[in-house]
Symmetry: D2
Subunit: 215 residues, 4 copies
């Protein structure tokens, strides 16, 4: 049976929950036509997150890996298209590390593209009535670190695997007491990740669609 | 059995759905401890909406009326505190009328307060993990028209009844193709309206809480 | 010579500057065709602000009073249309008072309308290339308190005077270190207030224009 | 005399003005300690914009090139850190071309870093009271195209030159009639670009500062 590995981070930045992990955990062991899902929690920690990811990839031998992270303040699902070779932390990670202006891989390229069909994923999520778009920046914190690291692992070690990253908004309860901040229900996040997994298995190459960004 | 009357508008402004009515319709005939719910759709039309409301109040003889409307662009449930005596339409209503700078009632006061426990409602919704706040403006379109008219009916004809108004965000599907716009799931809206009905029946007077707005 | 009295608040809420006062102070003693400007700083304090305002009105005997306050987070000039009879403070004022759910005037109406030509003011500001709109809520803090109190003074004591209120955004420097927050240059604020003063002196009644709000 | 070349685009996307060019044009021929400024307008057209840029670089022989573009909807100056090898247009360019998913350079890397001191520039602009931040995406339209092309020219042909890109918000007048949208005055934009030019000439390497992005 083919395998899709989903990862979600533990809570960070003072939050007590991480919607990415909450949503990913709901999909543990789910079976779909032609593949089944394995899930792993990864720590919001530079380096360690990549060791956990690599270990999981060795165990699961996935055909597709989708990392999922929280993007507080967004209103839709962000299907990340590009990871950059940069650690530049605005806040400390969960081990207290705060790297500034460091490359993730000394000998890696400046950026890697997602090898998932990002436009097909975004379109599929929207067809389910859930807002989604292709994003051109996953930031410079642990989310981008995991995404870049995943793609470097695929480029160098797991060459048959494909991989990418999704950002999800806050859960509604996380926005209480904050200034007006968008959120998304857990059910919609779970559904969106499910659609991303299915589209990743179905599409060999991406669809052509207008998803570009002006700035 | 005591009665709570909920109203929701039909779609307007080019939308094919109105989340207010979608959510209200889900609560048709629901029974809670001590009261049951009746629902009515009202047209997004100045004047006519108030005739439909008055007819419904004559039929149902409600203890509490809660009008619900769509506030596209908001990220949380807005518990409206004040209705103003002003029709000033940005777009035509569903009958093509677009009144500018007209009073709703020639002899009514400049404003009416909600007689629902607005802070208790907002607090109750937030306790359920759904973002909510007290709002000081319901606009100057048909939502404010219905809210002001409801309060005028209560002040002049249905004096034992209490009433107020809630604004709900777009549904997720409505935000697709718009620039980043917040939304809320139908389930959370339904739950929030349910909590508003229960709090309205339970609280004689409102709670003291910090809900004010700086501007 | 006819007189326009402009008021601006001192800084509050942890800010070291208040753009309202900065802008108003620039207009001290300015003369225009048919009127001259007097300016006063008012403290961001419930009650005291109104005593300072009344004293200034006794001294200046203005034909028009325009209160100006800071509305952090707005992107345009808000020409306030309605003041409500409610003190409901989210934060303490500059004397440490934080009233909740109190009327401003025990025997005043629920709301007062601005007696300035709000739509003509907004249109005039926009013609100068500065974004502006008519707003239906001045909040429930000291800005609304001053606006309501001003209108109550006009209704009861200074019956020949006309008055209203403007909210201005943050200055650019105030937004540094905040999440993305809109701002406006001091020059544009000064120009907008000047236009508001001139339009208030020129227009006996307001223009008809589409300025209503949906919610 | 050392030279800084500034470029700004012509209007696009239905706008009649482009704040980038308006601001850049104000700096034509300015002299600062140790360098002078040359300015060029570039068309908002894929490919052609790069031909115009290369021609200007051949003529001017600049030490530093700073491209400037409009990022409608932003509230601050964005100092772009990374350009990606992707043309993916949301709207047609000014020649009617709308490339989807095409590389800018067939043999270029996936991304280029700005070789300007991006954190020093952002800090310097903020010290002048103007909001600014380091951005990790210049989009996938002509702005990113010019930025990537500039860096490719530097990498392959003008190796002694350094270069990068700034995005500026809408001008206030451009936001009129739009939903609440942030803007910035022309004076602040001009000042920010001036600071960027001076910092680019002064700093050999960037400062260390917390400017990273979570997502």
């Amino acid at each position: 049976m083919k395998k899709v590995l989903l990862t979600g981070f533990d809570p960070f930045g003072g939050e007590t929950t991480n919607p990415a992990w909450e949503a990913v955990a709901r999909l543990r062991g789910r079976r779909y036509e032609g593949f089944e899902v394995e899930v792993r929690q990864v720590p919001t920690v530079f380096r360690t997150s990549l060791r956990v990811l690599r270990q999981a990839m060795l165990e699961v031998r996935p055909n597709v890996v989708i990392g999922v992270g929280q993007a507080g303040g967004r209103s839709d699902i962000a299907v990340e298209r590009v990871a950059i070779n940069l650690d530049d932390a605005r806040i400390p990670d969960n081990d207290g590390e705060q790297p500034l202006d460091l490359p993730i891989s000394e000998d890696g390229p400046a950026a890697y593209w997602s090898t998932l069909p990002v436009k097909a994923i975004a379109a599929g999520i929207r067809e389910a009535g859930i807002p989604a778009s292709v994003s051109l920046s996953a930031g410079s914190f642990v989310c981008n670190h995991l995404f870049y690291g995943l793609r470097h692992l695929i480029a160098t070690e797991f060459t048959a695997c494909r991989g990418g990253f999704l950002h999800v908004p806050f859960l509604p309860a996380q926005t209480i007491g904050r200034a007006p901040t968008p959120s998304m229900s857990l059910e919609h996040m779970v559904n969106a990740i499910e659609i991303a997994a299915m589209a990743s298995m179905r599409y060999g190459k991406d669809i052509a669609a207008i998803e570009g960004r002006l700035d």
